[in-house]
Symmetry: C2
Subunit: 504 residues, 2 copies
């Protein structure tokens, strides 16, 4: 039960500062979670500018309540719909300034795909993960404790409203327990991350002086799958390619025309399968070119990353990874090509005897240092052409349909490049020490996160350094239905962020 778990966990805590943060949190869990649920109840889908603004307003009010100063919205130049929320705390005697980053927007949702009883913006408490047969439970009475293995299910629960709340609550806990930060703190909460941070660079340009710092701490993503805390020195870049291929202009009876009229679902299958070999390696020409090899210290760090492949395969229910010769840690140091989704006509009870008119897929391309996102997209376009396709950005015209045997509509998203910070910088060593002060287990050092954040823009527009310190559980269903956060990860996030604010 929770009491025993608290007790064990209490004994493992390292520094006196961490213990104080923990005690404060334990005394205030009901209020802290009540605030979190209120925040999660505000829809935050990228592109829904009214909801996005509600989130920004909520954060500004929370900052005011905590005595944070100079609170304001930072706007990009060309749109007003995706402001970042800013605030700061100046600490007398502090010589360094750290900016804490998280984002408050969330990935698109298809509410119908969420499990029974769950809904993206009606946060629910479960007594375990769905995968471990968790069920929805009521919030306990005020005099009862929360089991740290319980989870909150909602869009943004882990990605990345947990980050926003961990940063704000860590600061609040430092002040409320009579301690003080060792560094000047700036808060920066982005509202457009899940849409690719298209306007982040404009904000950085517009507020260049305000955003000077010695380091950005990026609080996003999951801790290591071993459950250990981790410091991540880079992120992959990201770009997307949407592809549609065409058959007849109108749906055809599959009996009267089957195997005479071209079937776009088959064409798309052939096209997608031409992009990878049976061993999971991408076969698009030059796909792995441009990759900058890992440094010696990065290679050494990778060697002592706790192995999680077998654990993860058991947990996820498969036996064979895509690239059979590579571990998970190795795989994420390569550029990737992944099908996010694929559709043509209907399956299941809505299937009918037709030849579909169109088949579509969305690919995401993850990039490592050395890749340029536009060049990587163009490699995919060149591959599609090499398969005999006429490529257009629009629905094909009748003239094009008459002229070309195979037509693909290809739309390229905006994207961004990968970024890495050296593990050997003095400030990097301070970050590692701060995290290590909160736990007995060795903190995991990762050259790069598998996921993507637009960190390159900080370097490009501010010459700033970034280090990522994630807090979410790895099995959080981030970006998908049934997103959730385990309470212990949420609580540990407070201690992690507080230690960074008090780094020595």
């Amino acid at each position: 039960m929770s009491a025993a778990v608290f007790c064990t966990h209490f004994l493992l805590a390292q520094s006196p500062e961490t213990n104080k943060i923990r005690q404060y949190r334990q005394a205030n869990e009901h209020q802290l979670l009540s605030d979190f649920v209120s925040f999660l109840s505000i829809p935050n889908i990228v592109g829904d500018s009214i909801s996005i603004r509600h989130n920004a307003d909520y954060i500004m009010q929370a900052m005011r309540n905590k005595g944070i100063e100079n609170i304001q919205l930072l706007y990009p130049t060309t749109v007003k719909s995706v402001p970042a929320v800013y605030g700061e705390v100046n600490v007398p005697g502090a010589t360094q300034t750290i900016i804490f980053y998280a984002h408050y927007d969330g990935q698109p949702v298809n509410a119908a795909q969420w499990a029974k009883g769950l809904s993206p913006f009606e946060p629910k408490l479960l007594n375990a993960s769905l995968e471990n047969n968790g069920t929805i439970i009521d919030f306990p009475a005020k005099d009862k404790a929360f089991d740290p293995e319980w989870r909150i299910y909602a869009r943004g629960a882990s990605d990345d409203k947990a980050g926003v709340m961990a940063i704000l609550n860590a600061y609040d806990a430092i002040i409320k327990t009579g301690m003080k930060p060792t560094v000047n703190i700036k808060f920066f909460f982005e509202g457009e991350e899940e849409a690719g941070s298209d306007h982040l660079h404009e904000i950085l340009q517009n507020y260049k002086t305000l955003l000077q710092s010695d380091l950005w701490i990026i609080c996003d993503g999951p801790v290591h799958q071993s459950g250990k805390k981790q410091v991540v020195f880079g992120v992959r870049g990201d770009a997307h390619v949407s592809i549609s291929v065409y058959g007849s202009k109108r749906p055809l009876h599959s009996g009267h025309y089957g195997n005479w009229a071209p079937n776009p679902a088959m064409l798309l299958s052939q096209l997608l399968s031409s992009m990878k070999d049976k061993n999971g390696k991408v076969t698009i020409k030059g796909f792995y070119d441009d990759v900058v090899p890992l440094s010696v210290s990065e290679k050494n760090a990778l060697k002592v990353v706790p192995p999680v492949d077998i654990q993860m395969k058991n947990e996820l229910g498969f036996t064979q990874q895509e690239i059979s010769s590579m571990s998970l840690a190795e795989s994420i140091n390569l550029p990737s090509l992944n099908i996010n989704g694929m559709n043509s006509a209907n399956v299941g009870k809505n299937a009918s005897n037709v030849i579909p008119t169109i088949a579509s897929a969305v690919l995401d391309l993850r990039l490592v240092v050395g890749n340029d996102w536009k060049r990587q997209q163009q490699k995919v376009v060149a591959h599609i052409k090499s398969q005999g396709y006429f490529v257009t950005e629009q629905e094909p015209t009748d003239e094009e349909r008459k002229k070309y045997a195979k037509i693909a509509k290809v739309n390229l998203s905006s994207g961004y490049n990968a970024q890495k910070t050296s593990m050997d910088l003095p400030v990097a060593k301070k970050v590692i020490a701060a995290l290590q002060s909160t736990v007995q287990d060795k903190v995991v050092l990762m050259p790069t996160l598998g996921g993507s954040l637009p960190l390159f823009v900080f370097e490009q527009y501010l010459k700033a350094k970034t280090i990522t310190v994630p807090i979410a559980n790895h099995d959080n269903n981030q970006h998908a239905e049934n997103e959730n956060i385990r309470l212990l990860n949420f609580w540990n996030g407070f201690e992690t962020m507080a230690a960074l604010m008090m780094m020595k």
Copy 2:
């Protein structure tokens, strides 16, 4: 305009009987279409047994109004939900008995996929096909004529409520114009055709004596794409295979796990593309075995089928058929493998950065004489296994996920075999002559329809002969969204069915 079209068309009509049917129809178009719209407004999705029964009741009432005798529902043995509607007319002096078949059930619909303003069970009148920029128009006032190029849009408009109405109205027109049938007529309207006619054989067994005849006329499917009337002597068989392949048990972040976790959309693409070569030929072992070659008269008939490939490609908007060496007429004399639909996670605005957990496809297999539907399905299953898959009929268990690298859930539908009747039978020649009496253009003789009907059961359970006489326009979107019938095809259907009831 309509008057001119009527006039031209009137001049082309052949027999005096056909002219009388036409005059009757012209005088009664408003009432005939009002009745049709009422019928189309009753939902008829297979599996919705209450709606199916409403359709059956509507047909029985229409039969009573037309003086048809011995009206009753014919039930299968094992279910009560899909009765056929039966009625008969005994003609003094007639020596032959013809059963007229159509079906009143329809394919599943996804109403959201229908064009703006259209809805499957709210029939609308359009002034042209959607593809020719037709728009919804009001029904004309009673003193205005219908343009025969106008169309009715609704599920079942062509497949196959038009067939039911053409048969009933043809009989009615014969009687109302003072003529009389030359053969005894039995009416048989099925309610389960779009679900594969699983219980039709039970009805035939239960009512074996009642259903004795010299010939079944099957009124279903479209006329030839050249616009000419056609007589079809066989149909392809049909069976389905549903396939799902699996990745992780839960959706994964495509950054953190992309190209390490298996992607089921890629696995499905590889599996589907392994089923056909680049030239459209099915590569599944033995797929084209078992096929009985065409007879000499069938080959000769095919030689004079009006060529429609170029016209159809222009109309449908593509340049390259699947099997590059074969015409449409040749292709439908082979077994086919067609993807009806394919899905994995989301595309478009709902796409998100995940690795999907599952990817699914539905295949339909069309069969020609010689193929056995179960054997054809098993060839597909054997192929899936040959690609390294463990095949199961259930969701994979955790044990299976641990044991097998690739898992496919494969579900086999029930199906049926192809059927053909000889073109050289005396009754076949009477049918051809009857059709020819209604038009000047040469009637097209087709060895087989590309589509499927469960005609083999008539032979198997009743030793009966079947000949298919379709009436719908070929561009009717049968089985898909925006199903429609062109009024001229509906009207011509009356003349065709009446000529058959008065065959000499």
